[in-house]
């Protein structure tokens, strides 16, 4: 019986595996011809990155060499592209001639996606798919040469690590907020980024490429924020697309890939099959090797006339970068009815997260300790009932009676030089030394080192260091943690964020051993505030970690409408402003217009969708948001002062305006209200404000920490100064001290009660300290003193305020 003529287009890994199965089952059944555009046979493509790095040689990753194909009698037409398939005549035409087939397998794989930016065709811009790309990259590696890798997915990061090992200076640009976002979550992404940065790789997140620069050859990359990064080599690793042009030209039905059934038969022609990355099956396309091997096995059976069915299965991911231990499997998106189990070991850089739905494990992400990855993957694939071992599941199969999480791990991980007591400049090492020298309780440590002897916010940390250093000999008193996600108090959290230089939310979750993947509604606003207050230049404010009023930049009212209140500097307005407010109230049907206690005008009952428009109108009249909804500066209430009042001693209105213009836009732990009264008669009620200034003939009395809400309290005297400039300097220093030290949601009077007014006075009495605080406040204001109304009247931002069922939205891709 004559052999069946089998033609395979493509000699990738799936094709190689198919041939192995066929020859193993019936070595003489087929007369096989294999076309391959690459001038070589099958090699282990997923091992290209170790070849790039120099950790493997090309010869090691060849899986089917010429001798293998020859021994199996395969006609190899390598280095020859297929130009056409004639399904009517059942022939395949290569560049060097035609071959007839009885059965045809299309295994054309995928092609890299090239982002459509100017300069993408310049020499020096390469993709990363095959040996030729790999060799091109290796050729570009010269000492001191710079590479930019666009795409922080699996392939991009492997390329980056390989190029770095080859001696290049490497920058990775990634569009998303964390690396490998399709395979891992933000916490694992944070650890991965740290790991890569430790290798000297520069990782830039939320980096969108605008243009590849160069004349005649690549010279750099420009981002949309106009940052330019020099480059001798640009590697595009942003994704792949099934190669379907040949199939489409042969009028086979093609979606994202070539459509096949569960036997890998094309949807169009029963004698034509497709295999590998060029395939689309039940809406899915493929990029990892495991399902390709499954397909090869099924197709071999199909070609041999046996029954088998390809099924989609859960995949796991590993990154082939030596020393990076990363594992993920299944679905780890947050969702209704899903429960997370999180384990973190900050000292070892370990993060593990399991996602459970019902009684099943549906996802697992791990970094730093992947020993149990295979076991978890098995549980996911088998849809095993894990209800019995739910409590101990995270400890893996070898669990022998797991230890509870250690709340002192974060402190134990601190370096000896980490500063614990900022007031007295005491580092961890000095405290440990003191404990070693016999200081075995808080009082003794305080006496010996002065740690926690001033403002006292580091007391908890000192106690933890005592606990860590002394082990069982020390029992720390119980303190109130931030929330159920952690055992750390607010004060310790603030101190650790500074000491460990934690500059992102994932950094806080990981390094401080948070028990949840991303915090909760209680801790997120606090952490978001602490990060933006301590690292204004490094951290980007996260609106999702804010209360609804701050997110929408308006106060939601009991009927679901919002209030809009423009700022009136020092309570001063103009006829034009009043007209604009009146016009806006008319135009948007505002039912209530109210003069507030803070000397401003509030428009109540504005519909959410009208917010951007009304803001735009008020902006146009020169007004900005009054921040009537923020944990930040609200108002500066003033009296008319020397301009009009017979009793006025100073220009209280002018000073109030000056202070308001200085402080507006700054985020604080809780709202901050100021008052400036022109004389001790105190018409501006300055003596019950967070900061109240009473003008007197000889200068200005600055009081702080008053209250007139649930608690009523007179201000405490902070200082008396002679000039307006000094008032501004002291007030800014006080506000910044409050911003840097207070617990989130503590008004200044609560904070000073905790740290003591004496400490506040002593700290601010030092001119250099005041200058530093003013400097840091100015840096923060350079980022945060922006009018949220102006930003949100832009087209893109406006959409956030439209009703959800808006049909004018463009269809998502």
């Amino acid at each position: 019986m004559p052999k069946e003529k089998l033609v395979i287009v493509g000699a990738g890994m799936a094709s190689g595996r198919l041939l192995e199965h066929l020859f193993e089952a019936e070595p003489d059944r087929f007369e096989v011809t294999v076309f391959n555009a690459e001038p070589r046979g099958c090699y282990n493509r997923i091992m290209l990155s170790p070849v790039l790095s120099g950790e493997k040689s090309w010869s090691e990753i060849v899986t089917h060499d010429d001798a293998w194909y020859a021994a199996k009698g395969v006609t190899c037409r390598f280095g020859e592209k297929v130009v056409a398939i004639d399904r009517a005549r059942k022939t395949v035409s290569g560049e060097r001639g035609e071959v007839p087939y009885d059965r045809l397998v299309i295994a054309t794989g995928s092609s890299p996606f090239i982002i459509p930016v100017p300069g993408r065709d310049l020499p020096g811009v390469v993709s990363y798919r095959d040996l030729d790309d790999t060799n091109a990259m290796i050729e570009a590696c010269k000492p001191g040469a710079r590479a930019v890798v666009i795409g922080g997915g699996l392939l991009g990061l492997e390329a980056a690590a390989g190029l770095r090992l080859r001696g290049m200076e490497v920058t990775v640009l990634h569009l998303s907020g964390h690396l490998m976002e399709r395979q891992i979550d933000a916490s694992a992404g944070y650890l991965l980024k740290q790991d890569l940065e430790r290798r000297g790789i520069d990782v830039r997140l939320k980096a969108s490429t605008a243009e590849i620069l160069g004349e005649g050859r690549v010279e750099g990359v420009r981002l949309i924020d106009d940052t330019e990064i020099p480059a001798d080599l640009v590697v595009m690793a942003v994704g792949i697309r099934p190669s379907t042009a040949l199939a489409a030209a042969a009028t086979l039905e093609v979606g994202r890939g070539i459509l096949v059934d569960a036997q890998m038969r094309s949807a169009t022609d029963p004698e034509v099959f497709a295999l590998g990355e060029c395939v689309e099956f039940e809406g899915a396309v493929f990029g990892l090797v495991a399902p390709l091997y499954d397909q090869a096995k099924v197709l071999a059976k199909t070609l041999l006339g046996e029954d088998d069915t390809f099924v989609l299965r859960e995949l796991s991911t590993k990154l082939k970068v030596t020393g990076c231990d990363l594992f993920s499997a299944g679905d780890f998106a947050e969702g209704e009815g899903r429960e997370d189990v999180v384990f973190r070991d900050p000292a070892r850089g370990v993060y593990k997260r399991l996602v459970i739905e019902g009684d099943r494990l549906i996802g697992a992400v791990m970094y730093g300790d992947t020993a149990d990855g295979g076991w978890f993957h098995g549980l996911i694939k088998d849809r095993a009932d894990v209800s019995e071992m739910r409590e101990t599941l995270i400890f893996g199969p070898a669990f022998q009676g797991g230890e509870p999480l250690d709340p002192t791990a974060a402190v134990a991980a601190l370096q000896p030089e980490a500063e614990i007591c900022g007031c007295n400049g005491v580092c961890k090492g000095s405290i440990v030394e003191a404990i070693g020298a016999g200081a075995t309780d808080l009082g003794a440590v305080r006496a010996k080192t002065k740690a926690s002897a001033s403002c006292g916010t580091c007391t908890g940390l000192v106690e933890q260091i005592l606990a860590v250093t002394m082990g069982g000999d020390y029992a720390a008193p119980k303190a109130q943690p931030v929330c159920g996600c952690t055992d750390i108090t607010h004060e310790d959290l603030r101190r650790l964020i500074k000491a460990q230089e934690l500059k992102s939310q994932p950094a806080v979750w990981q390094e401080l051993g948070w028990r949840t993947p991303n915090g909760c509604h209680v801790c997120r606003p606090a952490v978001n505030y602490y990060l933006l207050a301590d690292w204004p230049l490094d951290y980007t404010d996260d609106p999702q970690s804010r209360f609804v009023n701050e997110r929408n930049h308006a106060n939601i009212q009991k009927d679901g409408s919002y209030s809009v209140m423009p700022r009136m500097w020092g309570g001063i307005t103009t006829p034009d402003e009043l007209r604009a407010i009146a016009d806006a109230a008319d135009r948007y049907g505002v039912p209530t217009v109210k003069v507030t206690g803070g000397q401003r005008i509030d428009l109540l009952g504005v519909k959410k969708e009208d917010l951007p428009a009304i803001w735009g109108d008020l902006n146009a009249a020169g007004m900005v948001s009054g921040h009537g909804y923020t944990k930040g500066l609200r108002t500066v209430k003033t009296c008319v002062g020397t301009d009009w009042c017979r009793f006025g001693t100073q220009d209280s209105t002018g000073l109030g305006i000056r202070l308001e213009k200085m402080l507006w836009g700054s985020w604080t732990p809780h709202k901050v209200k100021l008052g400036v009264s022109g004389c001790p008669r105190n018409c501006a009620e300055a003596t019950c404000k967070d900061v109240g200034i009473i003008c007197v003939d000889s200068g200005f009395e600055i009081g702080v920490s008053g209250a007139a809400g649930m608690d009523v309290k007179e201000v405490e005297r902070l200082a008396k100064v002679a000039t307006e400039d000094e008032v501004v300097e002291w007030v800014v220093a006080f506000v910044q001290l409050y911003r840097e030290h207070a617990k989130y949601l503590d008004r200044p009077y609560k904070w000073t009660a905790k740290v003591g007014m004496d400490w506040v006075r002593e700290t601010l009495a030092d001119a250099a300290t005041r200058a530093d605080l003013n400097h840091r406040f100015a840096i923060s204001q350079s980022v945060y003193q922006r009018d949220p109304w102006a930003e949100r009247t832009e087209e893109q931002q406006k959409r956030r305020y439209l009703p959800l069922a808006d049909l004018t939205l463009e269809a998502a891709e």
Binding site: G54, E60, R199, D369, D372
Partner: protein
């Protein structure tokens, strides 16, 4: 394949020996001496106090030590070494945290045909500098190395430092851009094994063995990962990389090779935490000698590297 070596070639390292502490002195626990019986005999009759001789110096200074030329040095077996034609030695102390476990000493001969390199790199000012190295006749490569520094993540040396794991590199000189590739290629160096040498006090050292075709340091290299984070609580190790003149590539991304404590030479190192040198029938995979060196990091035995001649 590149890096594969015919077994008839002479080897770069002539002697490998393991010294372990016993009652405050270093005594010989095992060695591979080839035909150098007299030197073996002298060694068996010798012990070193802390700071004495080459092994004692590596112990006392808690760092790898390279010694080129024995005459007039602190080397204690100079006469016997001279008689055996040995001219240089490298001593690598093995510490588990602050606990001293053993010293591995390798000794090399001289001669124009001997190409290879054993190097010790030390971190200074945030980059790795060559502390010292023995290069045989690869003089130009020695000069290049002396004038090269590695930042974290770059090259074999910087890669080992950043990844905290042993790394085996192939084809050092043949077209690929190993950082010192051009010179390595001219010297005939093909395969490089780099490994971290943890020392008390956290000082960073990286040891490299660079092997040439003509006088290979080894014909088979293996790197075993024994970290609990990779293998779990059991005392096991996974072969994560390796090449062999007989078997070719030793890694398999679909089917990992595992070994357990006390099974074979690698298993014994895994169990004891101390290096091992075996010869003749005790060495595995058809080779006449094997050196297996443990690396202790982060409070556990993290890796075992083994090389066979």
């Amino acid at each position: 394949m590149a890096g594969v070596i015919a077994q008839t070639d002479p080897t770069f390292v002539e002697v490998a020996e393991v010294w372990v502490p016993e009652e405050g002195r270093l005594v010989l626990a095992g060695g591979s001496y080839g035909a150098l019986d007299a030197f073996a005999e002298t060694s068996r009759g010798t012990s070193f106090g802390r700071g004495e001789g080459l092994p004692g110096k590596a112990w006392a200074e808690a760092r790898p030590v390279v010694l080129k030329g024995f005459d007039g040095s602190y080397f204690r077996r100079t006469e016997a070494a001279k008689a055996a034609g040995l001219t240089s030695a490298v001593a690598v102390p093995v510490f588990a945290g602050s606990a001293f476990k053993a010293v591995l000493v390798v000794l090399c001969g001289d001669g124009p045909e001997r190409i290879g390199a054993i190097e010790v790199w030390e971190e200074r000012d945030g980059v790795l500098h060559l502390d010292d190295g023995y290069y045989g006749a690869a003089r130009h490569f020695e000069w290049v190395s002396q004038h090269t520094q590695f930042p974290k993540g770059q090259g074999l040396v910087g890669g080992v430092w950043a990844a905290r794991t042993p790394i085996l590199m192939r084809d050092l000189g043949s077209g690929y851009r190993f950082v010192r590739a051009e010179s390595a290629g001219k010297a005939g160096l093909t395969t490089g094994l780099g490994l971290p040498v943890p020392a008390p006090g956290g000082k960073t050292y990286v040891l490299t063995l660079l092997s040439a075709l003509g006088t290979p340091i080894a014909r088979r290299f293996e790197i075993w990962d024994a970290r609990a984070a990779r293998v779990g609580a059991a005392r096991e190790a996974i072969l994560i990389d390796g090449i062999c003149a007989r078997e070719g590539a030793l890694w398999d991304d679909e089917d990992e090779r595992r070994t357990t404590a006390w099974k074979g030479v690698v298993g014994r190192v895994l169990g004891s935490g101390v290096p091992a040198v075996e010869t003749n029938e005790q060495a595995a995979h058809g080779y006449s000698s094997v050196v297996a060196l443990p690396i202790h990091q982060g409070g556990e035995l993290s890796h075992v590297v083994a090389w066979y001649c």
